[in-house]
């Protein structure tokens, strides 16, 4: 029983990471019908930004005297700063890689290939800049273990899961209730009619990238706190998995990204609980394949009827 509940917490934590990354794929797809394959690497860049921010604030570069700020204060500063800086990375990609192609009316396929290349550039740029040595993320929060009866859970795990749920409700509100959210949904339906509503279309697209990459940065920070070893390829596999989670959930739908993320995590942890862990990805993706076989548009997806 305790093991089951422990596993549920682990799955919720991993699901939170997948979900936070998946929503970036789903937001950009929902607006531009573009699969932003650089997104997993934006998550990686977010983790590195968090690393440099926190080590700076801890006083490792001599600007701030060590011990000036408490770990909790540093975390409070690192969350918004990491999100802002990572969203700048996302917006820069949009600006220098995707927008020029869009303005020239390039087919979406070329933009997707460009996104793949941008991801590789981020990975290898990191490698060139910082070398192959791994970075050890500092410990910001003193690890607290809360025990309820036989179940124990760390404060960090609770923080990660709580954050994912807050982000979900926030985004769901933005997308369904605000005018900007309506514009985001409308663009995918008929982007040429958007300016006729007096809406500057590029502002909406930039905002979409701000949201997606900002939350990827947040995921990078939380992931680095949970698994404190950073390396340039850390975003690749988790990015692919989050993308698949978004597709299984129904790409373009926020609920789908979250459901898909948690579903993937539960299947993975479930497999590992019963079978040898080497079978994890094989069995997890087989399950997802069966789901797509049964519902090719994803759990929340709807078949597009008219597309221009």
């Amino acid at each position: 029983m305790e093991i089951l509940i422990q596993n549920i917490f682990n799955a919720l934590q991993w699901g939170s990471f997948y979900a936070l990354i998946a929503l970036g794929y789903t937001l950009v797809y929902g607006v531009l019908l573009l699969i932003n394959f650089a997104h997993g690497d934006v998550f990686m860049v977010g983790a590195y930004i968090a690393f440099f921010l926190t080590t700076f604030l801890l006083g490792q570069y001599g600007v701030i005297a060590p011990g000036t700020l408490t770990g909790a204060t540093i975390l409070m500063l690192a969350v918004p700063l990491t999100m802002i800086l990572t969203s700048l990375v996302g917006v820069t990609l949009e600006r220098i890689a995707y927008r020029p192609l869009r303005n020239k009316g390039a087919h979406r396929l070329y933009v997707v290939i460009t996104a793949l290349m941008c991801g590789l550039i981020l990975e290898n740029g990191n490698l060139a800049l910082l070398g192959a040595s791994r970075k050890k993320f500092p410990e910001l929060l003193e690890k607290t273990i809360w025990t309820f009866g036989n179940i124990s859970v760390t404060n960090l795990k609770v923080l990660v899961i709580f954050t994912a749920f807050v982000v979900f409700f926030l985004l769901q509100f933005v997308v369904t209730r605000t005018k900007t959210g309506m514009a985001m949904r409308a663009i995918s339906y008929d982007k040429f009619a958007i300016p006729l509503m007096g809406i500057p279309i590029n502002n909406i697209i930039v905002f979409t990238f701000v949201l997606g990459s900002g939350f990827a940065g947040l995921a990078g920070l939380l992931f680095a706190m949970s698994y404190p070893i950073l390396e340039p390829y850390m975003g690749a596999l988790i990015g692919w998995k989050a993308f698949i989670a978004a597709v299984v959930g129904g790409i373009g739908d926020i609920r789908g990204a979250f459901l898909g993320g948690f579903l993937l995590a539960f299947v993975e942890i479930g497999v590992v609980a019963v079978f040898p862990s080497t079978l994890r990805d094989l069995m997890a993706f087989s399950v997802l394949l069966i789901i797509l076989w049964w519902k090719p548009t994803g759990l929340f997806g709807i078949a597009k009827t008219t597309k221009i």
């Binding site: 009316g105 409308a186 339906y189 009619a193 300016p195 006729l196 509503m197 007096g198 809406i199 500057p200």
Partner: protein, 241 residues
């Protein structure tokens, strides 16, 4: 003068679609451009609002003045948000994945006079009660006629002072068509200026104050609606004798 189009030459790719047309619209008028399919009517509207299709119209000569200022270099969204010129495009172009109410709300995105939005929504619902009944429905589930109402309602919600209409009669049964034109006439009497593009010259000349006849990118006739309706050439070519 509200709108003044001067010697406008427009190209699509390498093909010149408009060969130097000139016309104008006064504040408070309904002006119509009539002409056959392919005469350049939609091109004219798209050039004014710069509805950007993938390979949009390009002005090679001439000018478009709005209240005396050239708008050739005004960004498309500012034509709506700052100049209050709105286009209800052909084929309606409503956002089918949004509800009726969301479509109407989205049109108010750039409005600065926020206190008037609620009143305008009531007005749209009063003009088109069907839209209120269906406000929570996905708009692609509306009938063609209802989608047309939504397209006009949406233009009004964006705070339009000057409405450009592309083939408002298209796809409507005669009864609905007359109802729609009566609504437009009513809006015009309340101060909305209208530039109307129609293949159905008969109904356009019935409701417009003045008109221009466009033929393969050139203006071939102009005058008050009565003058055009009684012009033997116009009668023969556009009014079925």
């Amino acid at each position: 003068m509200l709108l003044s189009v001067k010697n406008l030459h427009v190209k699509y790719g390498n093909i010149e679609a408009l060969h130097g047309i000139s016309f104008d619209v006064e504040e408070g008028e309904i002006v119509t451009l009539i002409g056959a399919n392919g005469a350049g009517k939609s091109t004219t509207l798209h050039t004014i609002t710069r509805l950007p299709p993938p390979d949009g119209p390009r002005v090679t000569q001439g000018d478009i003045l709005f209240k005396g200022q050239s708008i050739l270099h005004t960004p498309p969204h500012k034509i709506v948000s700052d100049l209050h010129i709105t286009l209800a495009p052909e084929g309606r172009r409503i956002f089918g994945n949004l509800t009726v109410l969301e479509n109407l709300t989205l049109a108010t995105y750039a409005r600065k006079d926020r206190d008037r939005i609620h009143g305008d929504l009531q007005r749209v619902f009063e003009l088109f009660p069907r839209l209120e009944e269906r406000s929570k429905q996905r708009s692609e589930s509306l009938s063609g006629g209802e989608q047309q109402m939504l397209a006009v309602g949406r233009a009004l919600m964006s705070g339009s002072r000057f409405l450009l209409l592309d083939e408002p009669s298209m796809g409507l049964a005669p009864l609905l068509m007359f109802e729609k034109f009566r609504t437009l006439k009513r809006l015009n009497e309340e101060g909305l200026s209208i530039l109307l593009i129609e293949q159905n010259a008969r109904i356009a000349l019935k409701f417009a104050h003045r008109g221009y006849v466009l033929d393969t990118g050139e203006i071939v006739a102009q005058g008050t609606s009565e003058q055009l309706a009684n012009d033997p050439d116009v009668k023969k070519a556009y009014l079925g004798g």
